[in-house]
Symmetry: C2
Subunit: 512 residues, 2 copies
Amino acid sequence: MPSAAVRLMQTAEASGVEICFANPGTTEMPLVAALDEVAGIRAVLGLFEGVCTGCADGWGRMRRRPALTLLHLGPGFANGIANLHNARRARSPVLNLVGDHTRKHLGFDAPLTSDIESLARPVSAWVATATSPTRLASDFSEALVACLSPPGQVATLIVPADVQWEQASGPADLPQAPSRTRVPTERIRSIAERLRSSPASGLLLGGRALGETGQRAADRIARATGAKLFAETFPARWERGGNLPQIERLAYFPEQARATFAGLEALVVADAPDPVAFFGYRDQESDLAPEGAIARLSAPEENAEDALEALADELGAPTRALSAPAPAPANPQENTLNPASMAHVLASRLPEDAIVVDEAATSGLPFYSAPAPRHTLLSLTGGAIGQGLPCAAGAALACPERPVVAFQADGSAQYTVQALFTLARENLNVVVVLCANRAYRILRVELARAGITKPGPRALSLTSLEDPEIDWVALARGYGVPADRVEDLPAFDRVLHRALAEPGPFLVEAIL
Amino acid sequence: MPSAAVRLMQTAEASGVEICFANPGTTEMPLVAALDEVAGIRAVLGLFEGVCTGCADGWGRMRRRPALTLLHLGPGFANGIANLHNARRARSPVLNLVGDHTRKHLGFDAPLTSDIESLARPVSAWVATATSPTRLASDFSEALVACLSPPGQVATLIVPADVQWEQASGPADLPQAPSRTRVPTERIRSIAERLRSSPASGLLLGGRALGETGQRAADRIARATGAKLFAETFPARWERGGNLPQIERLAYFPEQARATFAGLEALVVADAPDPVAFFGYRDQESDLAPEGAIARLSAPEENAEDALEALADELGAPTRALSAPAPAPANPQENTLNPASMAHVLASRLPEDAIVVDEAATSGLPFYSAPAPRHTLLSLTGGAIGQGLPCAAGAALACPERPVVAFQADGSAQYTVQALFTLARENLNVVVVLCANRAYRILRVELARAGITKPGPRALSLTSLEDPEIDWVALARGYGVPADRVEDLPAFDRVLHRALAEPGPFLVEAIL
């Protein structure tokens, strides 16, 4: 009879799981072997667990179905936590399988023993430790339902090695995950009334509201009421560009966001959290909206797209066709490579239907105001840096027909630099635009905001990536990814154009 | 008046803290600025938090005083957990400072909010969240006492940003940490009696018992009783070579370790955990010693060195001078670079008083039987791979006058590859011997042990580091570390010799 591990993988395959991002060890060997017993689950190696979990997040955002991760005990899981934190904030469905010692061995406090559940809880909506081979496949089903329950969740199933290798019947039944619930009509009517009676209003879109349907409905609402449209600062997935409505991205710094909202009597929030500052500052409030302005259209588990359409209908708003704005003409005089000029070239060179993963931090800001063809943008939802490269790899695997641009800050890229290996091994269609400003620039800004306008040598050293300067072309080639360095705008344009035209991965080190 | 953060750093400096391994973010800026307000605390940047915590472990093992780490919120701390797990198993004193949101901001569930304490508990003997600026320095003192309490512990102090930046008086008083307690005379007498009456006996040394004092006493005991001497498999710090007694390292696989112990009537355990298998296997027991054989000489918080000397005295064992064994002569015919030939050359080329950090996994085994000059060996105590390079960096900073060899497996090195940047930035005297066998070799072995003798394509792919082959020379140079690749033994000998003779870091990629 097959092992419980095989029953688990059979259940996964039957339920439509297609991929497993793995960095396994001894305690996961039966699950590794089980991957070879099913036809439909691709196994992708990450050299570091944060690569695996970041890949699963990227896959989940694009497919809206969970990828598996396969991680080794507490320390292996711990290495994946930062990107699971981002996945949790992105509401990505991710299903972690974590091996543990055999049940008998756990009492001996062997070197790799640790409290995995305590590590898993902060990033997982659902955590369990499997205790029986016969129930393992149904434990897995339960984890899967947790992943797929609105708004999308991280689930972690810890599986002792002997629970994996013992025999079991199966596979398990596949229970249905609940659907998103409908926003009640009374709430939609009441918000419509509020918008009609508020001369100054806004609509803050997040989550699923930043899909095409939600944005088109929001545009109708804006036309009917004069409401301004905003996108949350770090959306999990934002359909943008082309003939989609132009929506202002809410500023990162709280004083700027508060200025944007100033004077609004109503701020309708659709599938975004109430807007709050990213960090707390001296003499600044944490909430960003004017007092009493927030009117919540939809909660995370509700259907925001339907609600926005119903609200537009309730307001009697006509539909309208939008045309794509013309790309801003290139400035033939411009030679300097800086965040603004780079954003302009990147936006204008972007292939139709590209996926852009934005972890460019300060270097990425100008991209949000550059007219671009239709694309999908994935951003750093949880602030745990090191998300960009793995998320791009996961998105590329999820959508092999779409070009992917990893728009990436140099400091952040270091946390999961091993993702370059996965780009090469899987020959993924990812162009990394590596913004090499050789500093944790945002921290220099934050030091100044904290009143430290003349940082001492230690503060400067801890926020600098110079000494030595990292050679990103060497790192990329070391992992098998072709790469080139550019120092001016024409070279960036030329190399980017060539990289996008060729299949497979490429890294452009843009010296800023 | 200075900030509470400055008071904390003043307290740290006054208590002898010399170094802070940091990867800070916005919520740690007051602590970063405070590092510039004291003269005596060096700030060392890690590009990834696992580098910081691994460095602190290496520092703690060599200095037996805590280094600070400075980490950013839950995700930053999480990235450091794997090497804190190793530090916990090594009983290294490590003091983590983790920033958190301001107290007011914590209620708003901003993107980076998470349950840091739940993440910290599995690797920390002491965890607290500071709640008051006026008490921050004394919270720090308490953490320091926890670190220094026998046998050496990890402490984690979480500090909200406003608790850092508000004004406070100070610094705090410096309470004394408790000393190791003395092993009671009755226990020593009873163990002496047991050894006298057991024809077949052994002595398993771990922790502090593997210092010079403990080993010389153990050698006297062995001479007096015929007891065999064993070292725990993964010692935190083992003084070895030269004229120290030759002690057998306990085998990794449980069936081998059990065979080693077979027939022993008494196994005296000094400062090591009771011997248990690293992993649990089908049809194998977890404990390794013959039933009833274990006689515990010292608990972790007791003084094992004194106890071993007292036991030797109780047994009336004379002291003896040992001479260093002659190094095995080089085989001039040998040309092939393999783990055995590499170990031989490495051991014979080792400079006197070197520090060897062993994370060479399967490639490192032959080193333990090669005669070598006196050196200190640090090993992978907790099994969380990615410890070698950072631990070597921390040891080199702790002992700038001693050469350090990072004896390193390629798969394991990837988890904290960013440590190469720290080697270059701090110009550390570390030679990395990178064993490039381009596989997770141990997992191939473990697959076979699990009965999977013909792994399928997925199992093969998940245990292979080929496709693409990682170019370690390119990676090292990308981080500013000079490097060379060798494919035969004479080249290894030549390049190693040159690398050891020159100051600063160097990486030798040894193709196995």
